[in-house]
């Protein structure tokens, strides 16, 4: 307070006079605004370019044949990715069955029975697991199941395990956030009616969090559909429709896309663009619907 009294009174300056350096500061502010806006635009360009190019080159390839026929040799035109679509559907169905129940159960344990030392350890390593390189997950499943203790060889099931390992931390993390949003009053009301803890969780908390859980699961599926690297090492790829659960290599759209794009013949590359459009639309649909469910759920609250 004493400093206030010791400061010499400033000479009166009319408000219209700007302090020294004001125009330079204003210029810097303007320049920064322009630069940041430019950065924003620059960041949007790749997305626009990708959407435009994938649509432009993919749209001509798409037809019913593309989904129902298998791929001819790369230099021949026509045919489609039926094997890939079937394999992706097969692998994703198994991966969803493996990852989503475990992911949600893990989140239930963390939120409803935590925090304790085990739950914070699990949380930390779930976070860490989101950063594991996908190719390493492929190597791990290859080492564990394909040649290791299982000795199962390549196939649908081991591919699904790899995808499930990729999806598990995503499901867990988002489910955890959603369960935390469920208000405590609901739990207390359920206890007040005489429900046990497991009844409260199964009949009250999970239904209340259902839209959020759906959002998280769909985002995880969107991530899983596009995974390529782990499948190269586990499902291995196939140009024909494979119905066996395990034992013979299975195909998938992203793998077939990669192989189509990496070879020199124009017809094969065209089909790869078509597959990219399908894959992109699938991922986009899952992402947007997931966000829509999520935002609807949160505006209700």
């Amino acid at each position: 307070m004493s400093t206030m009294t010791t400061t010499p009174p400033r000479p009166h300056v009319p408000l219209s006079t700007r302090p020294p350096g004001a125009s330079y500061r204003r210029f810097k502010d303007r320049a920064a605004t322009v630069a940041l806006t430019g950065a924003m635009i620059l960041a949007m360009i790749p997305l626009v370019l990708i959407i435009f190019e994938v649509t432009r080159r993919g749209i001509g390839v798409l037809s019913l044949d593309f989904i129902t026929q298998t791929e001819p040799p790369p230099r021949r035109e026509g045919g489609g990715y039926a094997a890939g679509f079937f394999g992706t559907l097969y692998i994703m169905a198994l991966a969803v069955l493996m990852s989503i129940p475990f992911g949600i159960a893990t989140a239930v344990y963390i939120v409803e029975y935590g925090p304790n030392r085990l739950t914070s350890t699990i949380r930390f390593f779930t976070d860490v697991m989101t950063g594991i390189p996908s190719i390493f997950v492929g190597l791990f499943v290859y080492g564990l199941l394909v040649i290791g203790w299982g000795g199962m060889g390549f196939g649908t099931f081991v591919g699904a395990v790899a995808i499930a390992v990729m999806m598990l931390p995503i499901v867990t993390r988002s489910a955890e956030e959603m369960l935390r949003l469920v208000p405590h009053e609901i739990r207390n009301a359920s206890y007040g009616l005489g429900a046990r803890k497991w009844q409260t969780i199964v009949h009250t908390v999970l239904p209340a969090a259902a839209p959020g859980l759906t959002t998280g699961s769909m985002l995880a599926i969107a991530r899983g559909i596009g995974e390529t690297a782990p499948l190269l090492l586990t499902a291995f790829g196939s140009g024909l429709i494979v119905t066996s659960l395990q034992g013979s290599p299975q195909g998938a759209v992203p793998m077939q896309l990669y192989r189509g794009a990496a070879q020199p013949f124009e017809a094969g590359i065209d089909r790869a663009w078509g597959a990219a459009l399908c894959l992109f639309l699938l991922v986009l649909a899952f992402t947007i619907v997931a966000r829509w469910i999520g935002s609807k759920a949160s505006t209700n609250g």
Partner: protein, 334 residues
């Protein structure tokens, strides 16, 4: 959610005696143990990962020595089924990973900071949410599509002309020495930068958003311009969060496989020029795994273990910083 949630569970008929019967009493502990068992699966998977891959790769580390493996220049695979006969030096691949990730971070970090500041401080309020969604949509694009687009559109139409200009201006500098092959370290690094931009933007945005508003208002009250508030108030306070974002982005870049594989050129050599072709650790594994014999796959497993170690260190450091900042929510966590 809370308005309709209380109505969600239908009131159940209380079953007579269920609260006190032996079976009902055991239901709670059983449920608890079941979900706890599911929770520990994550830990079991991680432990299995470390044990299984390391034991698989062990013979290579034994033969080459850990540092011999990391810094060895020669990668020649053998065909034996029982012992390690080839020479396994992973340096060319480690170099490729380091170079491409560095390029990606150098490009993406400033851009991510600027985009995050634009969204939080400059964008019209109605645009802020759609803009951040759009940037994050980029994160949803599968990496194989980045690879296809990068190889068949971005490279011939944008990167190659840009490289030619770069080479003619800075060709005397060893980093930009020709010849330009198109695919190479720089192409892979630039596409990687596009790929890691969304996650970095998302995290930096959240870090900026939790910055207390009263500090900003105080700065404005002192007569600061918007730029000065961003530069001198928010940016210093968000520094550790930005470091964490950079490290998470780095973790992504280190492990990215398919897009890099399609753009880096896939040679086993390495050189100083950024136009040169090479391989990253992840791309080399994916490129040669299909045709590799059992011994070569052991060597690839060793590369995988080294890659895992590096990404784990980077990720754990980043997570520790993020955790210190407080609980992050939403997409930044994924």
């Amino acid at each position: 959610m809370s308005t309709e949630a209380p109505e969600a569970p239908a009131p159940e008929e209380p079953r007579r005696g269920s609260l006190h019967s032996g079976k009902g009493r055991m239901a709670d502990p059983i449920f608890k143990w079941a979900v706890a068992a599911c929770g520990t699966i994550v830990l079991v998977i991680l432990a299995l990962m470390v044990i299984r891959t390391t034991s698989e790769a062990w013979p290579v580390f034994v033969k080459e020595g850990f540092f011999g493996f990391l810094f060895g220049q020669e990668w020649t695979t053998g065909n034996s089924r029982t012992e390690i006969t080839g020479t396994y030096g992973a340096w060319p691949f480690i170099y490729g990973t380091l170079v491409t990730s560095t390029i990606a971070i150098v490009i993406a970090l400033p851009l991510a900071i600027m985009v995050a500041f634009y969204i939080t401080h400059l964008a019209p309020r109605r645009l802020a949410k759609p803009l951040s969604y759009t940037v994050e949509l980029l994160a949803a694009v599968p990496s194989v599509i980045f690879g296809l687009w990068g190889l068949h559109w971005f490279l011939p139409n944008v990167l190659r002309p840009f490289f030619e200009v770069l080479e003619s201006v800075l060709g005397w500098f060893f980093l930009f020495e020709g010849p330009i092959r198109g695919v190479g370290y720089l192409s892979a690094g630039i596409v990687l930068a596009i790929m890691i931009l969304p996650i970095m933007t998302a995290i930096i945005r959240e870090v900026i958003a939790v910055h207390p508003i009263d500090q900003r208002m105080a700065a404005y009250a002192l007569g600061s311009t918007r730029w000065e508030v961003m530069r001198k108030v928010v940016l210093p306070a968000s520094f550790s969060g930005i470091v964490a974002a950079a490290m998470l982005g780095l973790g992504r870049a280190l492990g990215e496989t398919i897009a890099v594989l399609m753009l880096i050129g896939g040679s086993q050599s390495w050189g100083a020029s950024l136009f040169g072709t090479g391989s990253s650790m992840a791309s080399h594994i994916a490129a040669t795994f299909g045709e590799a014999g059992p011994e070569a796959r052991t060597g690839l497993m060793a590369i995988g273990v080294a890659l895992f170690l590096v990404t784990m260190i980077v990720n754990i450091l980043a997570r520790v910083i993020v955790w210190r900042l407080g609980r992050m929510t939403g997409d930044a966590a994924v």
